[in-house]
Amino acid sequence: GDSGSGGGEGDGGNLSITFLPKNLGNPYFDTSNAGGEEAIEEFDGTFAEVGPAEATPDGQVSYINTLTQQGVGAIAISANDPKAICDALNEARDAGVKVVTFDSDTNTDCRDVFVNQADAEGIAKVQVDLIAEQIGDAGEIAILSASANATNQNAWIELMKEQLAADHPGIELVEVVYGDDDDQTSFDKTAALLQTHPNLKGIVSPTTVGIAAAARYLQTSEYQGKVALTGLGTPNQMREYVEDGTVTAFALWNPADLGYLAAYASKALIEGDITGAEGDTFDAGKLGEYTVGADGVVLLGDPFVFDAENIGEFDF
């Protein structure tokens, strides 16, 4: 394979960009990487995708090191840990590799730009609003998250707690459990939640794996239609549950757009159009022009709510 090792030929710099998701075999990242590939083909770069089989930071570090050795142009990475991969990323940057984080950020000093799917406030708010609406703004709810250390989920959960306390006094968050982004664990945790809390009215799962597993359990249990479920999911995985009424509505941004934007941000960094400083602007193909915000954050947009009305229009 020579895809990742194209040296610094070409005038605009080395446009070989490698996507490094949290783990391989995750449909969410599949979609985002496909978006990245589309973008890279548009501007004639070299796309590659590598990653560990399981979502661990040490697995990612090995790949970052390898990419450093290969001398790629940029790494687009979704971090499994905000700190653990920092040194490896900085070594890569010292070797001239640009680093873009997307989906899940590292500490700000380890990357050039973070492509944020939606600001955390917005993500937390859309989920809180959805669950409040579905359970009539009162009753017990629980959260089924990804792994305990997932940076983005933890940030959202904190914000959801704040918003619940401030705006929804009738809703009580009784427990947060972690399904480790594993189908089976999430499935079994859902079962445990429902038994432990007989008065549970709703579950929020801010992770695509979790919400699908929870929906599958609900669908086959006596709680179908009685316990509300919402969170972040992909339309293809959730279609069945929305159609049969297990789930009324859930939210997500378009992961393909996220990858697409990360690819263009990488290109802009490689070609020197931006440095990651606040106020830099760059062109992102079909998505238009974006501006780098504070702390090198590029914001994709607001999350989108899927329900029975519109889910038929999406395929990812």
Binding site: P57, T66, Q69, D87
Partner: protein, 354 residues
């Protein structure tokens, strides 16, 4: 046919005892360990010639940084497996010691003291395993499946969703520092010191002789004054201590103490130890083979990653390598016996007359 053939009575001849029935070179070269070392050399040579970027010194740096925890834990694991036991809890001890270091440092304790306490915790973890195996008399596989969950659970429970990342720069830098300009990481030194200690312990002390005897025949060892319980207990404590050390290194290298650090590493360690020629039934194996086994897996992974081979293929290759490494030796032995067997005899010609 009752003729008595009388042979002349000869005086009892004085027997000559040679030390070895095979010459030194054969004993050294025709071993499982040497086969792995040879394979390692072949892989390194082929990789440097065919894979771009493999020949750089930085490869060595990353390789050593990557495999150091496995190298470290493989040392006591080898000894434990030679006694016929196993310790599946090592990776959980790595996680636990990482978390203990993190929590204590975060709580304001100097890093050095926190690390010492983490070592102690590792030692205690090992002692718990050792106690359950030797005093209570439970199978180590079952015990350490239990403590695998217990130690990991403690680690995850102690830290919850947080990860501690504020460690003194002096130490985090040291974990990644290189020896002068050679590109060889400094951590190689403590590893080499431990390697010498463990190699002498296993191969050149009465204690080590006891370890092999236990693995080959526990009962005979006990009858011969080998304190089977004490030996195993010491080894489990050593495994705990060294795993805790690996945990501290892990924490420093990634600058992050997390409950799920090194999850699943126990199988990697065991795979490497087994590849290096240690028998899971005990009694067989040597440290040079194990070191070569760890490095072989590390080098292969590093080379294949550089060649843009995905992690699943790397896993397939690791697996196939394990299988081939054990099958090939018995295949060769089989070939040898075949060549010597009387040719062309039908398999069975039992007369069932009567």
């Amino acid at each position: 046919m009752s003729s008595i053939t009388q042979t002349t009575p000869a005086p009892a001849s004085v027997r000559q005892y040679r030390d070895y029935d095979q010459p030194l070179w054969k004993r050294l070269l025709l071993t499982r360990e040497m086969a792995i070392i040879a394979l390692l050399i072949v892989v390194v040579i082929i990789a440097s010639m065919t894979i771009r970027g493999f020949g750089q010194p930085i490869t060595l740096t990353y390789l050593i940084l990557d495999v150091t925890p496995i190298l470290l834990i493989a040392l006591p694991m080898t000894l434990i497996m030679i006694t016929g036991e196993i310790d599946l809890s090592v990776a959980s001890v790595v996680g636990l010691s990482s978390v203990v270091t993190g929590v204590l440092t975060h709580g304001g304790m100097p890093f050095e003291i926190a690390a010492l306490i983490a070592l102690l915790v590792g030692g205690i973890g090992g002692a718990i395993n050792g106690f359950l195996v030797t005093v209570v008399g439970l199978p180590s596989l079952a015990v350490t499946i239990g403590t695998l969950a217990l130690f990991r659970g403690l680690a995850v429970g102690l830290l919850g969703t947080t990860a501690v990342t504020d460690f003194p720069e002096f130490w985090t830098d040291l974990a990644k520092a290189k020896l002068g300009t050679t590109g060889v990481p400094l951590v190689i030194i403590p590893f080499l010191v431990l390697l010498v200690i463990f190699a002498v312990l296993l191969h050149f002390t009465p204690f080590g002789r006891g370890i092999y005897a236990i693995g080959l025949s526990k009962e005979t060892a006990a009858f011969s004054g080998v304190d089977v319980g004490r030996t195993k207990f010491i080894l489990f404590v050593l495994a705990g201590l060294v795993s805790a050390l690996a945990g501290i290194y892990y924490t420093l290298r990634f600058g992050s103490a997390r409950g799920d650090n090194a999850t699943g590493m126990e199988l990697q360690v065991i795979a490497a130890v087994v590849l290096g020629g240690v028998s899971v039934f005990g009694g067989r194996g040597a440290l040079h083979g194990v070191i070569a086994g760890v490095l072989l897996i590390g080098v292969l992974a590093s080379a294949l990653r550089l060649a843009n081979v995905t992690s699943d293929v790397i896993n397939i290759i690791t697996g196939v390598l394990l299988v081939i490494s054990v099958v090939s030796s018995s295949f060769l032995a089989w070939l040898r016996t075949r060549r010597r067997a009387p040719g062309g005899k039908p398999r069975v010609e039992v007369s069932t007359a009567g």
